[in-house]
């Protein structure tokens, strides 16, 4: 039976991994992710989760171990953040290239230097092109639901790709709030047991995984990979609906979530927990008679191109918030992506919340008033100190 508990985002993710009956976990602690692997270690220690927990010596090895385990045909999970994700970089490409449905929690945290343990999304954005599906959750409930959904999406025969569920460091990882925890049996029945048809290290069916991709085959494997992540949009949408039917919660259409878009001349586009604060401001403005909308990007990769065009067709002022910066381009990644799909529309980019700089309702209001008076293509850094 579903029960509600008041838990952190990291606990919600650990709980989801447990509900999903992961068989091998390989992880290394890093702030602000550590509570997730600590919770998983405790489940294993208490006999609540019958998983093999490999306490690896680095994130690089965490991903390598997950790859080895997934390639042997079991469900795997890991968690990381920031420098840890950066250390995994090489292995992320290998996980997707080998088409292994590994699920990972990334707790978004700034990259050094200077060293900073607080939230921004530069870490996962830096892995944009790695072939991982990237989901950004807004709250702890969505964190739990997204991890469960991630296994369903990743293991779909049409997809077979790793999925990274991103949650904002500290803002979600260290905040307790009510989270509905689905019935374990029900989740396990929904996901079933992972039994790969393509990748299995089994002496009874000896195959060679990770061979030399000679020029005669490499480009085709990359095209297949691209087709798989492109095609995953439909699967993500379907899983969102399935999940809604079973567990009574859905997140937009799975790829994007619109909020108060009807008759909104000004629309903000953002990812992650800041969307809550934006909704809060939208509600306040609405009471004052002002209509502003939000388009929340839930899956950054695959990027919901068509939804962005469709859902922003009536907006005249588009303000894209980025908790990352493409150095040398003076725009954030989401700003660049949104600009590239919206033709003949005013799109301004706002760099916010880097390295844990708090994003307040006042900041959101400032963005709204700025974009309404701005020219197309402006980039503004919000809440910079003098």
């Amino acid at each position: 039976m579903e029960k509600i508990d008041i838990i952190t985002g990291t606990t919600a993710a650990a709980m989801a991994a447990k509900l999903s009956n992961v068989e091998v976990i390989a992880a290394y602690p890093i702030t602000p992710q550590s509570h997730c692997v600590e919770a998983l270690a405790k489940y294993v220690a208490d006999g609540e989760l019958d998983a093999e927990f490999v306490k690896v010596e680095s994130e690089h090895s965490a991903m390598a171990t997950c790859i080895g385990a997934s390639a042997t045909g079991v469900r795997t999970f890991t968690a990381t953040a920031s420098q840890g994700l950066a250390l995994m970089h090489e292995m992320l490409y290998i996980a997707s290239g080998m088409r292994l449905p590994i699920v990972m929690l990334n707790t978004n945290r700034a990259l050094s230097a200077p060293i900073n343990i607080w939230c921004d999304q530069q870490d996962s954005i830096a892995e944009r092109d790695s072939g991982w599906i990237q989901i950004y959750a807004e709250d702890n409930q969505e964190t739990l639901d997204s991890v469960v959904q991630a296994f369903k999406i990743a293991e779909d025969e049409e997809v077979l790709l790793p999925v990274m569920v991103n949650i904002d460091g500290f803002i979600l990882t260290h905040t307790v709030e009510p989270v509905a925890i689905p019935d374990e049996e029900k989740v396990r029945e929904y996901l079933g047991i992972y039994e790969p048809k393509h990748a299995y290290l089994d002496p009874d069916r000896p195959i060679t995984q990770g061979p030399v991709g000679v020029p005669e085959c490499y480009m085709e494997t990359r095209k297949d990979l691209n087709d798989a992540i492109e095609g995953s949009r439909e699967v993500i949408k379907r899983v969102n609906e399935e999940y809604y039917k079973l567990f009574n919660r859905k997140y937009g259409n799975g790829l994007v979530e619109g909020y108060n878009l009807e008759d909104a001349d000004t629309v903000l586009v953002a990812m992650g927990s800041v969307c809550g604060t934006i909704k809060y401001v939208i509600n306040e403005l609405k009471e004052k008679g002002k209509n502003v909308g939000l388009l929340r990007i839930r899956t950054y990769r695959p990027f919901p191109k068509e939804d962005v065009v469709e859902m922003l067709k009536d907006a005249n002022n588009v303000a894209v918030l980025d908790k990352n910066i493409s150095l040398g381009f003076n725009m954030g990644a989401l700003g660049i992506d949104v600009s590239s799909v919206l033709k003949n529309k005013k799109v301004c980019n706002y760099i916010v919340g880097l390295g844990g700089r708090d994003i307040t309702p006042q900041d959101i209001e400032e963005i709204i008033s700025h974009v309404e008076g701005a020219k197309d293509g402006e980039t503004k850094w919000i809440n910079l100190k003098e």
Binding site: A199, I207, Q209, Y218, T221
Partner: protein, 86 residues
């Protein structure tokens, strides 16, 4: 068509590649002299020396690259080499 993740589902499929064409020198095994010590068998980097039904060792020239380790390691000179005639 390339398989998913370029996984190779056919174990040992390099045997399509006849590396015998690499040879400059050809080892020749004289079964009359052979004492079946198995040196040539175990030291061959290609696994190209095999035991036939009669228990005699033979060289599969489809794959022998002509390194001549077998000639060097034969304790009774049952293996000799000759230049490959092409």
């Amino acid at each position: 068509m390339v398989t998913i993740a370029a996984i190779i589902y056919e174990p040992g499929s390099t045997n399509k590649n006849k590396t015998g064409s690499w040879r400059t020198f050809r080892p020749i095994l004289d079964n009359k002299k052979c004492i079946k010590c198995e040196n040539c068998y175990i030291f061959c980097p290609e696994g190209t020396i095999y035991e036939d039904k009669n228990g005699d060792f033979k060289i599969n020239y489809d794959y022998c690259k002509g390194c001549l380790i077998c000639v060097n390691e034969c304790p009774v000179n049952a293996l000799t080499s000759t230049r490959e005639e092409k």
